[in-house]
């Protein structure tokens, strides 16, 4: 967990301070410096337009790292609404919502995101929304299940018996008790969202060049793989560290919040 926390914190600091840390403009073209290998002038080398890779990696971290939390915030919002409604209200609301979730889960996550992009159109905002939509059923299922077990507790029944309104019971007694598993899922979901976001950007469905973004930079470096390994190496390491850090953080959170799952 400590390694995960250090990685995630380090990347967030880099993303926030990228404007100050970047030695060059990430979009400044310099044909004379094209495809230069890593050196003291350009620590991570340059791309086919002579743009500094280090500056692009530093500033590209912002968009890549933003997609994960932003997309999962959407999933969490709708997952909470649907999951609490299905679990707490039950009956027909539960049946209808769960059948919808079943249909959404009939599509693999990447395919669901692709379908959403097909409808919404190409662009970073739409990629973020598409990934968010793709993860809603996972949150809905988990939240419904935890709400169902939480509402059996005596303190919830007591609150209801005392005439407390449903919204109060949910906010005061149910939500605080379902947060642990939701937090664990959020962490692993962010890792998946960062990876999927970078993949969709790599495929040309999200951020468009020349905006720096790790997936876009990997895609551009693909054409120069034999001549300039540095173009794909550094953005790739960035994505891997971000996903690894978030996954390790999620594993650590799971061990702390639910020791029964610890091996």
């Amino acid at each position: 967990m400590v390694v995960g926390l250090v990685l995630v914190a380090g990347l967030v600091v880099i993303a926030l301070g990228a404007g100050v840390l970047a030695p060059y403009s990430p979009i400044k073209v310099d044909p004379l410096a094209a495809l230069q290998a890593p050196s003291t002038t350009h620590i991570m080398g340059t791309d086919q337009y002579g743009r500094d890779i280090l500056s692009r990696v530093l500033l590209g971290s912002r968009l890549t790292l933003m997609v994960g939390p932003a997309a999962i915030a959407i999933s969490l919002f709708f997952g909470l609404l649907a999951g609490v409604a299905a679990g707490y209200v039950g009956g027909r609301v539960d049946t209808v919502l769960m059948r919808l979730v079943d249909v959404m889960l009939a599509f693999p996550g990447v395919l669901l995101a692709l379908g959403a992009i097909a409808v919404l159109g190409v662009g970073l905002m739409n990629v973020t929304i598409a990934i968010g939509i793709a993860y809603v059923p996972n949150f809905t299922r988990l939240i419904r299940a935890t709400v169902l077990s939480t509402k059996q507790n005596l303190y919830v029944e007591a609150s209801r018996a005392m005439g407390a309104p449903a919204l109060y019971v949910v906010a005061r007694h149910v939500l605080p008790n379902i947060m642990a598993p939701v937090l664990v899922l959020t962490s692993s979901a962010i890792a998946w969202a960062i990876l999927t976001g970078a993949a969709l950007n790599f495929l040309g469905l999200g951020t468009q060049p020349p905006t720096p973004e790790w997936g876009v930079d990997l895609s551009e470096g693909r054409s120069y793989l034999g001549a300039a390994w540095w173009m794909t190496t550094f953005p790739g390491v960035g994505i891997m560290l971000a996903v690894l850090g978030t996954n390790l953080l999620g594993d650590g959170l799971r061990d702390v919040l639910d020791p029964r799952l610890k091996e």
Binding site: D102, V103, F107, V110, G115, F202, L203, G204, R222, L225
Partner: protein
């Protein structure tokens, strides 16, 4: 067993209905008139707009449009590509072979590598081999597979020249894409086999097998591993659908033919009949793979057939 299969098949019907409704409504969820969106950027007459609207069945009431669309789909007519004017099903059939080949090869790599690494980690529990195996699993899950593909291309194709960089034909061109896609799933299988084996080797029947004087490899491969592989069957079935969807990315990295690339091209070109067709086809494959995994699990572990 037959009852289980029939019930499981029956449970797919409402899901298939839901999937068909969702895919059908993709076109209707577009903000604005789908015909104008499809024709955007080209000079068209009102007559051409009406012709396309009629061709896509968009001039009918919505419920009739759905019945019309689903009836045609059940007869293998998924419409025609807006750009190439070819039947969508024909395009899918032409491309699906390469995608299936990649998905099966990737799962082959995943099973072999995953079982080997998981077994090794469990047998050398709490040693550096165990730690290295689990580090591999952590990296396998975290590494962006499109980046791993590029790294493998750089090393084995551009530097060593062992395999061709791009293309679809021949086994040599299948190795790197299959390893790239397979390693991601190998990591999951390795974790599953390791934890399963660690639990099984403490069971009484394993102690008995050892007490009988059986050689250690026979105990592990003949008794312990056999029981750990049942959940692996389910996971492989579930992974098949995901592998099909992830070929979208791998096919682009290795410039391979396949329905994944067909889907990406269709999305970028706003070719809705093709996009709808590929998404419908892939989700049906995904559901079928999940069902087969459940049936295989029920066959291998009769306890799971109980409702």
């Amino acid at each position: 067993m037959l009852k289980f299969v029939v019930l499981r098949l029956g449970s797919m019907v409402p899901l298939l209905f839901g999937v068909s409704v969702a895919v059908f409504f993709m076109v209707h969820l577009l903000p604005g008139d789908p015909v104008l969106i499809i024709l955007s950027g080209s000079d068209v007459t009102p007559k051409q707009i009406e012709q396309l609207r009629h061709e896509l069945g968009l001039d009918l009431p919505i419920h009739q449009q759905y019945v019309h669309w689903v009836t045609k789909a059940l007869h293998g007519d998924l419409g025609r590509s807006i750009h190439t004017r070819r039947p969508v099903l024909q395009a899918i059939v032409e491309q699906v072979g390469a995608t299936l080949q990649l998905a099966f090869a990737a799962l082959g790599v995943a099973v072999v590598a995953g079982v080997l690494i998981g077994t090794l980690a469990a047998l050398r529990h709490n040693t550096w081999i165990d730690a290295a195996s689990m580090a591999f699993a952590a990296f396998g899950i975290s590494i962006p597979h499109f980046w791993l593909g590029l790294l493998l291309l750089f090393v084995f194709s551009f530097t060593l020249g062992w395999v061709p960089a791009t293309g679809t034909e021949g086994l040599k061109r299948l190795v790197l894409p299959a390893v790239t896609l397979g390693l991601m799933y190998a990591a999951v299988i390795a974790r599953l086999v390791r934890s399963g084996l660690l639990e099984v080797i403490r069971q009484d029947y394993i102690r008995t097998a050892r007490a009988k004087g059986l050689a250690e490899p026979r105990v592990i491969f003949g008794h312990a591993l056999k029981n750990c592989l049942i959940p692996v069957v389910t996971i492989v079935g579930l992974q098949f659908g995901h592998a099909m969807a992830n070929t979208v990315i791998i096919e682009t990295v290795f410039s391979r033919q396949g329905i994944g690339r067909l889907a990406i091209t269709a999305i970028l070109e706003k070719d809705f009949p093709v996009t709808q067709g590929v998404i419908l086809f892939m989700s049906v494959m995904y559901l079928a793979a999940n069902m087969l995994a459940d049936v295989a699990y029920a066959y291998l572990d009769p306890r799971s057939r109980e409702p």
